[in-house]
Every structure is written in structure tokens, then in C-alpha cells.
Amino acid sequence: MSGLLINDISMRFDLPNGGHVQALKNVTLDIKSGELMSVLGPSGCGKTTLLNIVAGFLAPTEGNIQLNEEVVHGPGPERGMVFQQGALFEWMSVRDNVSFGPDMKGMSRAESKEKVEHLLDVVGLQDFKEKAVYELSGGMQQRVALARCLANDPDVILMDEPLGALDALTREKMQSLVLDLWKDTGKTIILITHSVEEALLLGERLLVMAPRPGRVHKEYRLPFADMGVGNDLREVKKHKDYAPTREEILEMIWNMEEEIMGRTEENA
């Protein structure tokens, strides 16, 4: 079976004062190859921890991650990562950033040229390939990050709030780009976001996580991502199920936040 299996993950951080934080408890997910999954949840629900475990930056206290039936033990090129911002290499040009993965594999520039040029076309940065990344706008920088990740041809792309720092208009364009790339490449994508709208639009499968301990609260299967491919996302938002689903999830997260606030007050 090919795909990503998150197998009964628990994560416990020991604190210096002797206490501990249960960041994740018994999270099990079976993500099929080519699936687009968005993860939502209030702060402290462990969604970033989960992504870091899948990426291999953290080892879980219990359970394991299996990609294509092989257990993951650390970071690797088959799991690409797109960060919120600041993860590009400023000392390299746009083109060098994109070809970083192939370069690390020892691929010659001639070999990787076709792929790099193609990806620069796809993300619309062909005219900027000689520029330094710090000369680009925030949206363009995230395009570079997407292209850099794709150049390595990973099986799974992990996105940690990749559009969080962008303005609303740029964000909408980037959402369309992510959908198009998903459809074109057929990659498995896990996307963490704070925005309910983004989670609805960029999730075939939407996961709502709950905090303390971090766990999967509810799962949705949504049609909006498929509708959005190649279409205007504003049209998708007019779908009759869109607004009710959004309200339902917002309500759910609001309740969780209030519960956290209540508990904090009790403790105080």
C-alpha cells in the first residue's frame, strides 16, 4: 500500500519543572497517495508538532510514521517542507534556491535545468530567476519556496502555514496556485493553516484538531478543493454547503478556545 500512515502517534514533552505537556495523544491517520489534507485547530492543539514529526524533525514518544510502508527516522527528500517564511536562502538567486534539492543530490546543472526551468514557468517566476530572493515580494518568495520543494520531487509536501504571512489578495492567488500544483503533480499535500476558509478551499480532507491533549477532533470530506482546481475560488465560496460548513467549524473552534480560556482562568 502506498501512502502516508500516521500510526498511533503520541508526543509528550517533559518540562524542566517536572511536569509534562501532552502535545499529541494517539493520533492515527491514513493518508492516501495524492490526497490534499488541511489541518485546522486552535493554538496548542499540536498541529505543528504533528507536521514536524511527519517531516522527521521530531521523534514521537509513541507510534511511528510510515511512508510507502517504510518507517520514517529523520528528515528526508521524499518529504518536502514549505515554511511560513524566512526559509529561503538569501545568499542564492531564485534559480539556485529552486535547484537546491537537485544540487544536493549531486545532479549536474545541465540535468536539472529542464525541471528547474519548468517549475519557474509554473510558479510564474521565469523573469525573476536571476534575482536575489530578498528582492522579491512575500508572495513571490513563497512561490520560490513551492518551486524549491517541487524540484526535489517529494512524495509528500508538508506545508506549515505557507500563506500565513501574505496579504489577502496574494493569498487568494497562491491558494489557486497550490490547487493547480496539487492537481498537476498529484502529490500528497498536508497543509496546516489558521484560516478556516483556507482549510475549506485547500482540503479534500479537513482535519479539526483539539487541544490538551492534541488529538483529532473531527474529520470532513469536502468537495471544494476539486471544484476550485482551475476555477475562481470566489465562485466556490458561493456553493450552498460552503457557508454552513464554515460556520460549523468556526463554532467548533470557538468552543475549544473558550474552553481553554475557562481552564486557564480556573488555574489562575
Partner: protein, 436 residues
């Protein structure tokens, strides 16, 4: 008092030139570019640019103060200088029986730096002879003596008198004014007094200008600069002194960087190295390099090796700390991203950590070069055969103030050049600095 006058003049020049320059160079006071549209600039530091007219006037002011307080030949407004030339005063000698007689003393005041001047034929100046005077009549005879500016002369008026001091001749009046031992009277040309034992003294007026020994005039320093380049001092020309100092700095700094940067990286990357070097670095860092000079001399002597070792030690700790903070300044997301793109540890180091730490290393290098430049001069002051510091300290022993000033100016100019050079190198090598 002169110090207060300089301060008052300097403050006056600051404000005075502002109002004058504002009226004359209007364009230099206009806001430029985007700042033109800003209504709030007081408090907005980014809107402040250095007024170059002020910089030019500032340098001119310092130069003018230099000229104004020295016996310079440069035709600029100067303060009253010391008296120079011939002057006379009369003294009245009285014998024990009450008879008195008047006689004159002619003082020839000459340049205190006469021996350092050269006439048209290239001969060094000589002290002048006293003016020729007639002895006159009476028991007190006329005297003639010489005295240098900024100096003081005890005038033994009885040397040629018919009645000596021992035989009961005393001076009771100067220029007709009664005077007692220990008192003095002022005239335009200086101060005439009596010592406690009653011998007349003459001190020429000094004005406000400083003697060459204390502050040589600009042109004197410039001539010395030329002379140092042609003739050299202590067996080396100025260029050679400078070259030796610079060579020591560059060598010491480079070895310090080559050793320090890898240690700094190791401290940022492995716990063992951090634990190993932490106590050494933290102990050595606060010790000023100058405190090590005696030990270095004992161990390595006063030759080149000792100097380079000292500068190596001055640069080493700075470079270690710069490299270590460069590693800790790498955003973890960049390292994670590189690992996710398949980079090995070696590739992480060479492709991510090294370039990312360059801005910190450059800042450290600038500081280290500055410290090394200061340390080399100090080390040469203590012991050296050649070098700018050596040149200065030897000149100071022979009171050659002009050489000292040439040395100080060269040290300042080179320190400034190092800073400017490092900055432009930085802009060229790490254009992304501060833009992330």
C-alpha cells in the same frame, strides 16, 4: 584658560557657521528625495542625513584652530603670538650709602625653534648674538642678553657693574618703578621681576600661541611628513614603518580568523566543543590584549613573532564569538528546509550555516581589525624595532612633537581606511545583510 577659550571658540564656530552656512548654502539644507515630503523629521532618525557642508566646515575649523594657536606661517587669522625681537628696560641700582645709578638692559628675544629652521642656503638657524650696546657711565653699566621665546632669563646686571651685589649694590627700581625682591612688573614685551634674592629676571610675553615643542604648526608637520618619507626615522622611512605595522595587523588578524572561525563553528555545532572552549573563551575574552604584552615579550621577545602572536590573541576570541553567534543566528527553518531537501550535514554546514553566518563574521572581523590596529600601536610603544608606534615613542623621547603628530594622523587615516574598506567589502560580499 586657553582650554576654555578653545572650547568657547569651537562651540561658537558650531552655531555661528550653522547660521552662516544656512544663509549661504541653501541647497545643502533642503531635504532630499522622499524626505522632501516628510513634515516630521525631528525624531525621525531615518530622515537625518549628514550635512556635508557641516563636515567640511568642521574639518576647516579644527585646522584653523590648529593654525591660530601655533606660530604658523599660514596666512589665517591667528591669536596674539609671543614677543620676538629686541626690548629694553632700565634698572636702578642703589649702593649702601644711598647713591643710585640707572642703566639699561637690552634683551634680544629669538625663536625658540631657531635651530630647527633652515635659511635660504640650507643652513640650520643659530642663536643670535646679543645686541651691541655701550656700557654707559655711572657705576651701573648697560647690559645686553638674549633669551628664547617661551623661556626665562635671570639677568645678572652686576656682571659688568663697578660695584657687585656682594659689595652692596641692590636693584631698587625697574623702569623707574620701585620694586622689592619677589615682586614683578608687566610690560608689553613680557614680565620683569626680581628673584627672592633681588636679581632681575625677564620672561618674554608668550601670547596665546603654543610653542613648537607642544604643538607644531601644520606646515611644520607637513614638512616633517615629507622628510620622513625621504630621510626616514630610526633607519626606516614612514612607508616602511606603516608597512611593518600593517603587516603585523593583517597577519595576526588572518591567523586569528583562520583559527577562530572553525572553533566558533564547532562551538555552535557540537556540545563537546562548546563545553571544551567555553571556559577558555570566557576567561580570555575580557583580558585586554595590552595586559598580555609583558608575557608575550618574555616568551617571544620583541621581534615580529611576539607582535603577531599578540594580535592573533587579540583577534582570536572576537572571531570565535562572531562565528559562534553566526551559527546561532541561523533560522532553524532554513536548516530544516535544507535537510528536507536532502542535504547532508556537510552540505548543511557549507551551503547554509557558512553563508548565513557571514554577516556576523564580518561584523566580528571589523571589530577585530579595529582592536588589532589599536593593539599593534600599543605593542610597538612598549617594544619594537620598527613600526608607527615605535616611531612615535622614539620621537617622544627626543621631543620631536611633529613626528608624533604625523604618526597619529597616519594611524587615524589607516584605521579609517580599514573600516571603510571592510564595509565596502561587506556590501560587496553579503548584499543580503539586513534585508532578511
Amino acid at each position: 584658560m586657553t582650554g576654555l577659550l578653545v572650547l568657547a571658540l569651537y562651540v561658537g564656530a558650531f552655531f555661528g557657521s550653522f547660521f552662516i552656512a544656512k544663509a549661504v548654502f541653501k541647497s545643502a539644507f533642503e531635504k532630499k528625495g522622499f524626505n522632501k515630503l516628510k513634515t516630521v523629521t525631528f525624531g525621525d532618525e531615518s530622515a537625518i542625513t549628514a550635512n556635508r557642508v557641516a563636515s567640511v566646515i568642521s574639518v576647516i575649523t579644527v585646522f584653523w584652530l590648529w593654525v591660530a594657536f601655533t606660530n604658523s606661517a599660514i596666512p589665517l587669522l591667528k591669536f596674539p603670538g609671543p614677543f620676538s625681537g629686541d626690548m629694553t628696560f632700565t634698572y636702578t641700582a642703589q649702593l649702601e650709602d644711598g647713591t643710585t645709578d640707572d642703566a639699561t638692559v637690552t634683551m634680544r628675544v629669538y625663536r625658540e625653534d631657531i635651530q630647527q629652521t633652515i635659511d635660504d642656503e640650507g643652513n640650520p638657524g643659530r642663536e643670535p648674538d646679543p645686541a651691541e650696546v655701550e656700557l654707559g657711565d655711572g657705576f651701573a653699566k648697560n647690559d645686553s642678553l638674549t633669551v628664547a621665546r617661551y623661556s626665562f632669563k635671570v639677568v645678572n646686571v652686576w656682571a659688568n657693574d663697578e660695584v657687585s651685589k656682594r659689595d652692596g649694590s641692590t636693584v631698587v627700581a625697574i623702569n623707574g618703578q620701585p620694586i622689592a625682591p619677589g615682586e614683578s612688573i608687566r610690560v608689553d614685551e613680557g614680565t620683569i621681576g626680581l628673584t627672592d634674592k633681588g636679581t632681575p629676571t625677564f620672561e618674554p610675553a608668550v601670547g596665546l600661541r603654543m610653542a613648537r615643542l607642544y604643538l607644531p604648526a601644520p606646515e611644520v608637520v607637513f614638512q616633517r611628513f615629507i622628510w620622513l618619507n625621504q630621510e626616514g626615522y630610526q633607519g626606516y622611512t614612514l612607508l616602511e614603518h606603516t608597512w611593518f605595522s600593517l603587516k603585523r595587523v593583517v597577519l595576526g588578524f588572518l591567523i586569528g580568523a583562520v583559527v577562530g572561525v572553525p572553533i566558533g563553528y564547532a562551538m555552535g555545532l557540537t556540545g563537546w566543543a562548546r563545553g571544551w572552549f567555553d571556559p577558555i573563551v570566557e576567561f580570555m575574552r575580557p583580558i585586554p590584549p595590552l595586559a598580555l604584552i609583558p608575557l608575550i615579550i618574555i616568551w617571544f621577545g620583541i621581534g615580529e613573532v611576539g607582535k603577531v602572536v599578540l594580535l592573533f590573541l587579540a583577534a582570536l576570541w572576537i572571531m570565535i564569538i562572531a562565528a559562534r553567534s553566526g551559527v546561532s543566528g541561523v533560522a532553524i527553518s532554513k536548516v530544516h528546509a535544507a535537510y528536507s531537501l536532502g542535504a547532508s550535514k556537510w552540505q548543511i554546514l557549507s551551503k547554509v550555516i557558512v553563508p548565513n553566518s557571514l554577516p556576523d563574521i564580518f561584523t566580528g572581523a571589523r571589530v577585530a581589525m579595529g582592536v588589532c590596529w589599536g593593539t599593534v600601536v600599543a605593542a610597538e610603544l612598549v617594544a619594537a624595532n620598527v613600526g608607527l608606534g615605535k616611531m612615535i615613542v622614539t620621537a617622544s623621547k627626543f621631543q620631536l612633537t611633529d613626528i608624533i603628530i604625523v604618526g597619529i594622523i597616519i594611524i587615524g587615516v589607516i584605521g579609517f581606511a580599514i573600516e571603510v574598506g571592510m564595509r565596502s567589502l561587506e556590501n560587496w560580499l553579503i548584499p543580503w545583510k539586513g534585508k532578511v
